[in-house]
């Protein structure tokens, strides 16, 4: 049994896999773990040196797919990829297609990773720093986000496109990224200072967004199941509108479902218009 550790880094894994493939080493006899061997009874074998005799040819598209699937955090993260690579390199292309049992799992992981990148683009919430602090830290916007897969590095360029010369950072429990208006600085280990700035930012200006969220909701169409399906509960606590969700659902269930109007608007004085009225 060969036990390997690639530090959850795709480039490292790719070099290891290329070497294994060159020596014709069967997927059943390799395992990638976290630093130590998981299987106590296995006798560790070293990784053979040199490129090895077997020259594998695989379609170019496969490498991109393996890289994307490698961002998935889960069981057998790297073993699964080597098994796909092995089968395709030995002429079985179905291993990368969704119809195959293994290929279907890889494709599912690719979809999950893509979905998680989309979640980042959708659900990151930046807090603008007050001017003095922004000047001191050279930073305009901070955000804290907890992605389920390793997508920050590959997906964060989106915000450089969106925010122009604004300086921002996104901290996560693992990694982090900072943009100074010109360059992205990605850190595999998020500096503690970044995490603190992002988690402790005060946001007196959040009220406007919360007011909008309350009022754009139509209680007559209440459908909390659909909300949960598109906006999984794990994101709620980092969204400013998260705490409003149960409150609005509760209000709607207790009588506010009659019509579409928000409670706060219904309480205000109305105004009928006659055509003779001078309009603003």
């Amino acid at each position: 049994m060969i036990a390997l550790d690639c530090g959850d880094d795709f480039a490292t894994w790719r070099d290891q896999a290329r070497q294994l493939l060159g020596h014709g080493i069967d997927p059943a006899t390799v395992t990638w773990g976290q630093a130590r061997m998981d299987d106590l009874l296995a006798v560790p074998t070293p990784l053979p040196v040199g490129p090895g005799p077997f020259r594998a040819r695989v379609p170019a598209a496969l490498l991109a797919q393996l890289e994307q699937a490698g961002r998935y955090r889960g069981e057998q993260r790297w073993n699964l990829l080597y098994e796909v690579l092995w089968r395709v390199a030995h002429g079985d292309r179905t291993a990368m297609l969704a119809g195959d049992r293994l290929g279907s799992e890889m494709q599912r992981r690719i979809r999950q990773v893509g979905r998680e990148a989309h979640h980042l683009h959708a659900f990151v919430r930046f807090v603008p720093l007050p001017e003095a602090l922004a000047e001191q830290l050279q930073l305009d916007l901070v955000a804290y986000h907890e992605p389920a897969h390793d997508i920050l590095d590959s997906a964060c360029g989106h915000f450089a496109d969106r925010l122009g010369r604004q300086r921002w950072l996104i901290a996560t429990p693992l990694d982090g990224v900072r943009f100074d208006g010109q360059h992205l600085d990605y850190q595999r280990q998020c500096p503690q200072a970044w995490q603190q700035w992002a988690r402790n930012a005060e946001d007196p200006g959040a009220e406007l967004w919360l007011a909008y969220y309350r009022h754009t909701f139509n209680p007559a169409r209440l459908n909390p199941g659909a909300l949960r399906q598109h906006l999984p509960g794990r994101f709620w606590r980092h969204l400013p509108e998260g705490p409003l969700i149960p409150e609005l659902v509760g209000q709607a269930r207790h009588g506010k479902q009659r019509d579409g109007q928000a409670l706060e608007v219904g309480r205000q004085r109305g105004k009928r218009i006659t055509v003779a009225d001078p309009l603003p």
Binding site: L97, G99, L163, R221, L227, K271
Partner: protein, 406 residues
Amino acid sequence: MQLIAKLGILADAAKYDASCASSGAPKRSSRGRDGLGATNGMGICHSYTPDGRCVSLLKVLLTNFCLYDCQYCVNRRSSNVPRARFSPEEVVRLTLDFYRRNCISGLFLSSGIIRSADYTMEQLIRVARLLREEHGFRGYIHLKTIPDADPLLIEEAGRLADRLSVNIELPTDASLERLAPEKRASTIRQAMGVIHHGQQAVAGEPRAPRFTPAGQSTQVIVGADATDDSALLRNAESLYQGYGLRRVYYSAFSPIPDSPSSVPLAAPPLLREHRLYQADFLLRGYGYKAGELLGETGNLALDIDPKLAWALANREVFPLDVNRAEPALLARIPGIGLRSVQRLVALRRERRIRYDDLIQLRCVLDKARPFIVTSDYRPAQAELRSGLLRARLREPQAPVQMGLWG
């Protein structure tokens, strides 16, 4: 009035418009440049409200003062609602603030009709111009078009916005006359024609200034009048063909406060709206014709989806051999979507397709089973009558509580 109070009133007044899409815009980026905003064709839903609808844009009215008296509308002049009006600068400020926070991908601005159609349209254009020209905003802008406005103003709006929309609201002349006396079907169609003409003028000319690159859309209200699904779908089909519309939105009529007696005070028909969206998708994505889905009159079935309904009514087409059938026909099998069709075609180039492959592809086999043949499967129900099959496949309907007043 404070900004936050105006925002409450004017967001509340805008929520009955169903569209909140931010997709279809061309690639734009602000990387390393002054200004703010990017689009890449993909829409982003930044949040969801407890009605399960996506929040992609800041959707507000510039003002809910309105001269018109459309019976279905919460902002009609005879409605007793609080009124407010934003200045263009206030809308700009809100848009940029929410955008910077990553709460939205752009702005969807509409308005009540004040003074005149032209004046109202000019105000909407002013907001878009401020955003684009003063603030270098490259995010998504959707402007509502006032049907009676000068065509020159509509063209100006089309050069600033990613999408324009003119709402039909009620698909028949009779209903418009009864419920929206100030609106006319002919001017609505004329405005659509102006937009369509503007799009055609720049089509195929990559250097021409962009004109509504994300297309135009419209909305019809479902359940405020007696129009049936057949009329709604035929109307949608003619709009897709005649004006190159990108989307028709169906909005189940929500009861409004201070409701006039001319419109229903019932819960919005959400399932009917859902079936219309499904049928509409079949028109746009799958190549169905409205006439295939419904006869001259009638409504879509609520207990089965329209694709299954078509398959049950056309049993002579089935069962289809998944290994041989044309992709366009594969896509007509209930429970097999466009993505699965693509995958099946890729897979069958490599080898014969078995029943187990469909499970791996996560096709909805409960629906597909009676309609398919694979290399190792033939349906036992192939001879079963459609009525019996339907009884097995129908979705359970939530029980309707007996009303106190019948």
